[in-house]
């Protein structure tokens, strides 16, 4: 392993994620802008979001100052040294923090003190999978606290919403979550939804949906239909950008499903703000870049 290469390219992955809004997200904000009337705060705010994205990219500064929880997902070849990769990743995070690409954003929950390097137990979050390729597929999602706080988990049946254990029940939960969030998750956002699983896996799988591109529908037909239906429904709510009214409330809805126990039926909903930071890269065995993803 060429340490220097790895570290340099992992820092670059973090830099791109923090400063360069993915094209699919930007396009969908632009599409939303066309639906809003000029002179409304919805139009103004979406315009500012796009200006901000252009500026962050040009000046290589964070899109949002809440550089969020960093979740890395590595898919590595058989026999790859994942401990080594984990320690290189932690170094890259600490370096990216020194460079101002990341904010000092990690707090000790007991003492209240700040970890100046953003490296702590389980921070950054890292997941390792084994894949068939010879390259390492490294993906990073950065998700801030504002949108994380408005995520919700429902245990069906939920009588207050008349939500039963079926897809109509799921639809009701998603609509409720969007309403509860109002603009606090920095709308327009993307909803990651998981039907089933246990509480922990439910949220994890909901977040995995954020690896899918905005605008892509689920391969599972019924879920794709539900995604589309929810997009139409959410548009009618008119919460708008930052919750001040308007048509752009959600950029997309992504639904996945896991098996469940007979006794449980969870619907887990994770909210991703418009500053949707997601990047990926394929790295060779020496840490060189094969290809950037997204």
């Amino acid at each position: 392993m060429k340490k220097a290469h790895w570290e340099k390219n992992l820092v670059e992955l973090i830099r791109r994620t923090s400063t360069d809004l993915p094209a699919d997200v930007e396009q969908s904000i632009r599409k939303g802008l066309r639906r809003e009337k000029k002179g409304t705060s919805a139009h103004d705010f979406l315009t500012m979001m796009l200006e901000n994205a252009a500026m962050a990219r040009r000046d290589s500064v964070p899109l949002c100052q809440d550089t969020g929880t960093l979740t890395f997902r590595f898919t590595v070849p058989t026999g790859f040294d994942t401990n080594g990769l984990a320690s290189l990743t932690r170094n890259a995070v600490s370096k990216a923090t020194r460079l101002g690409v990341l904010r000092q954003n990690t707090i000790d929950s007991v003492s209240g003190e700040s970890y100046v390097t953003n490296v702590a137990h389980a921070a950054p979050v890292m997941e390792f999978l084994q894949g068939a390729r010879k390259t390492v597929d490294a993906r990073l999602i950065m998700k801030g606290g504002g949108c994380e706080n408005v995520g919700r988990q429902y245990s069906l049946p939920e009588s207050s919403l008349d939500a039963r254990r079926d897809l109509e029940g799921v639809r009701r939960c998603v609509l409720d979550a969007v309403w509860q969030a109002q603009g606090r998750g920095c709308s327009p956002g993307v909803l990651g939804v998981c039907i089933g699983g246990d509480r922990a896996k439910g949220y994890a799988h909901a977040k995995e949906q954020f690896l899918r591109k905005v605008g892509e529908r689920s391969d599972v037909k019924v879920l794709a239909r539900l995604e589309e239906r929810l997009m139409r429904d959410i548009r009618r709510m008119e919460i708008g950008p930052m919750g001040l009214g308007g048509k752009s409330t959600a950029l997309d809805v992504k639904i996945g499903a896991l098996s469940r126990l007979p006794a449980s039926f969870f619907v887990s909903i994770s909210y991703m703000c418009w500053a949707f930071r997601r990047r990926g890269v394929l790295l060779g065995p020496e840490g060189g870049v094969h290809r950037w993803l997204y």
């Binding site: 705060s41 500012m48 901000n52 964070p62 100052q65 000092q104 109002q182 603009g183 950008p241 930052m242």
Partner: protein, 191 residues
């Protein structure tokens, strides 16, 4: 039309604003988040006067470059977390402008009405754009105690764009949208 307002934010200026107005804000603004609000609410002394001043709910990314502080990112943070403290601080410190995102609750709405304060919402996440409105950093307080994100940064702004979402007449755009969208939700759930 954009209304320009500049520090000091006198009651006369703030009372002239209505929900829905777009304003461009210039002059001195101090940042504050959870630690600072709690500290001040528990009787801690404020190191600078906030009379006719503005509090920005923001935890910026600040770097030291050539002996000077440079703000790299400075978008708003969620304001509702400061709801338990805000009304008291508006009253005791004489704050007239609060800048943040997501709006605030009933106590703040009433304090705004009674003490001539307004709440401005900026675009959450627009950190680069908003950082570009910061002309300079005039000082920092509690840096060692609270850390860089939670510290109180004294910023000098030029034309920060925001929308008045809570005015000094007791109106709250957040409340209006919440009610309207509740109706829409009920319709959708009735289908």
């Amino acid at each position: 039309m954009i209304k320009a307002i500049e520090y000091p934010f006198t009651e006369e200026k703030t009372r002239g604003l209505r929900v829905g107005d777009t304003v461009s804000l210039s002059g001195r603004v101090c940042t504050g988040r959870d630690r600072l609000h709690q500290f001040l609410a528990e009787g801690g002394t404020c190191p600078v006067s906030l009379r006719d001043g503005a509090m920005y709910h923001c935890g910026p990314v600040v770097m030291q470059e050539g002996g000077k502080w440079v703000v790299r990112a400075a978008g708003p943070t969620t304001s509702i977390r400061e709801e338990p403290y805000m009304a008291d601080l508006i009253k005791s410190l004489g704050l007239r402008v609060i800048v943040g995102k997501g709006g605030m609750g009933e106590a703040t709405r009433l304090a705004c009405r009674d003490h001539g304060c307004v709440y401005l919402q900026t675009v959450g996440g627009a950190a680069a754009l908003l950082a570009a409105c910061i002309e300079r950093v005039d000082g920092v307080h509690f840096l060692a105690e609270f850390g860089s994100t939670e510290a109180m940064w004294e910023l000098h702004l030029r034309d920060l764009i925001a929308v008045v979402t809570m005015d000094a007449r007791g109106h709250s755009l957040h409340r209006t949208v919440q009610r309207k969208t509740r109706k829409a939700l009920n319709e959708l759930l009735g289908e």
